[in-house]
Symmetry: C2
Subunit: 343 residues, 2 copies
DNA sequence: AGATCATTTGCAAGCGCTTGCAAATTGCGT
DNA sequence: ACGCAATTTGCAAGCGCTTGCAAATGATCT
């Protein structure tokens, strides 16, 4: 970055509380107090200050304040799945909910760069807490946060590494079971599974749920294949492969984008869904409802997860000694047209 | 939010430069200097400091620093189109590119709340500059930024209000013309237009471009209809309407999501694309390339726009007196299967 | 009016850092 | 070994704000 200019033009400066104080004819701690809620100021002074502030266009400087309060109202938001449409909803909700609580997200885009820098940056900005909304995160991240005394909660997934952590997520096992039940009660028996990267816990859990549901009836997954990412492309090619092999009558996709890819593979192969093969996804992204797809899928309660994650991180900020906790939400089925009707 | 705990446990505190200085046996300005690039420190002291810092896990406090440097390295990023898939790519690029320049985005999600608070918040956090990546923004936003002495650049659209502003965008007129040319050289003559909200400048410009292209051959748009948002739903119902009316042989959609909706409307009506009707979109979102759609569309050079917008805002931060400037990028065609081949 | 208590206010000491300045150190030529 | 210039260093004065404390003001009751 270019060198900072030294010359400090008058216009460059922002209004300070001193200036407001002068205009209002009060001490500058009075200004500070009218802007810190809960502080002791008479209605009269507050009025004077507010008027002066308005006139000058004064805005208290959060950074200066944070030096004393040790609060920045900044929450580090760690993301990486910028290629999955579900992220749009997640992101929208996170930024809005945080805003509503008077907090601001400081985004760390993990797709680029190393995770190490990421934590350093968050530390430099003294974020009050961190919410992790990605799964491909170095295992020791939580540890490092703890060492730095930084509250951290995981949303939408749990860290691979074992050990206590604050986790707010949907119950992937239950989701997998739900998918399995749904499929079976519609008469499907030879159920294949298309998962995401084998390294992600979420994929494993969903498969485990499916397997559990099948085992209850003495069945087991017909085939399981994995893509190296939750993408349309992966779903497309994996489904083509499955079609070539054949033998299954339904497939549970670990993610909607993958399911849509699978659906497109069927379309091009002339396979009818749900006539020939049933398909069920996970996430309920917007496109799943588009008329071209009408994908039956499992929906996680995104808003609940996000709301709870935010509440939890606030709680931890105020009471850092609180014990780690895991909250799992049940998922629900969204029935559309890629599964045949109940038998 | 709950009241801040008063008690300040030792563990609560972050390491300060003083502590590093003590451990390293140097003055604490030495610490500061080793962390400010371009400062004068001998290799030996820097080594000592770095070692101590590493041992203690020290990270300089950006907020304290910003008090003196008058730089926060924070850029306000104003967004609102969290429902359009194109946003994912935009957002990913913005956050990454900013990160690469040593800047951090402070997101303002305009979907909720008033724009007034938004600017106030950005001011409180003393962002160094603002990038507006949304079009539905109160007209006076730029004015208010100027009054507050805040560099602001508009990316992906220009403010409705006239007046000088920094605008980095694609050339919607050229894009519209390109679409028109493409359609005509493939023999389409009765071309309809599906736009977004009539209030957005972008829609108007795209239509103007199309019209210009048609006029060159003595034609004019066959029909123009507008949705109240750039959504699949809007495209679907608008296209159904168009189909009912009939008479056109092609349609230019102001946005890809709309185009996909239109495509689905054709599919359900049994209309063949591009056989019966040609369809062209705008944006080239990921789904446009999915095998179910294979949408021919116009692509804006998103990465260029974002890169330039960032460069521009940095430029303005360093030289606030720079005159406003508009940079428009040409769009290009992405030919897939929703237009019939060249005649 | 005077005494008593609750509020409100200003003062000043920080918060963790940068930076101009002058003193201390270093390198180098002779 | 000595002198001089170029570096390096520590000191101290901020940056804009919060907050404990004590002084000042206001309210309330005899």
């Amino acid at each position: 970055m270019a060198k900072v200019k030294k010359t400090r033009r008058a216009s460059d400066r922002r209004i300070t509380s001193k200036e407001v104080a002068d205009l209002a004819g009060v001490s500058f701690s009075a200004v500070s107090r009218t802007f810190t809620k809960g502080a002791s100021v008479s209605a009269k002074t507050r009025e004077k200050v507010l008027k002066a502030a308005r006139k000058l266009g004064y805005q208290p400087n959060v950074h200066a304040r944070s030096l004393m309060t040790r609060r920045t109202e900044l929450i580090g938001l760690i993301c990486s799945n910028f290629d999955n449409p579900v992220f749009m909803e997640v992101f929208d909700l996170f930024t809005r909910r945080l805003q509503m609580q008077g907090l601001r997200p400081l985004i760390a885009n993990l797709s680029s760069g190393q995770a190490d820098d990421t934590l350093d940056t968050l530390l430099q900005y003294s974020v009050d807490g961190v919410i992790v909304a990605t799964s491909n995160l170095p295992a020791d991240f939580a540890q490092r946060c703890r060492r730095a005394n930084l509250p951290v909660v995981y949303a939408f997934g749990r860290p691979k590494a074992p050990g206590a952590a604050n986790i707010i997520s949907s119950d992937f096992l239950q989701a997998g079971r739900l998918a399995g039940d749904l499929l079976q009660e519609r008469g499907y028996r030879k159920i294949a599974f298309i998962g995401g990267p084998t390294t992600t816990v979420s994929t494993g859990d969903r498969l485990a749920g499916l397997t559990a549901s099948l085992e209850a009836n003495g069945l087991e997954p017909h085939t399981t294949v994995y893509g190296n990412a939750y993408t349309h492309e992966a779903g497309l090619s994996l489904m083509r492969q499955l079609i070539r092999t054949g033998g299954m009558d339904a497939v549970f996709c670990g993610d909607d984008v993958v399911a849509l890819g699978a659906l497109d593979a069927c379309r091009e192969a002339g396979i009818r869904v749900p006539g020939d093969i049933g398909i069920i996804g996970f996430n309920d992204i917007a496109m799943a409802g588009w008329s071209a797809y009408q994908l039956t899928t499992i929906r996680e309660p995104i808003a609940d997860i996000i709301g709870t994650a935010i509440d939890r991180v606030i709680e931890l900020i105020n009471q850092p000694q609180k014990k780690p906790k895991t909250v799992l939400f049940d998922c629900s089925a969204v029935i559309r047209n890629t599964l045949r009707p109940l038998v």
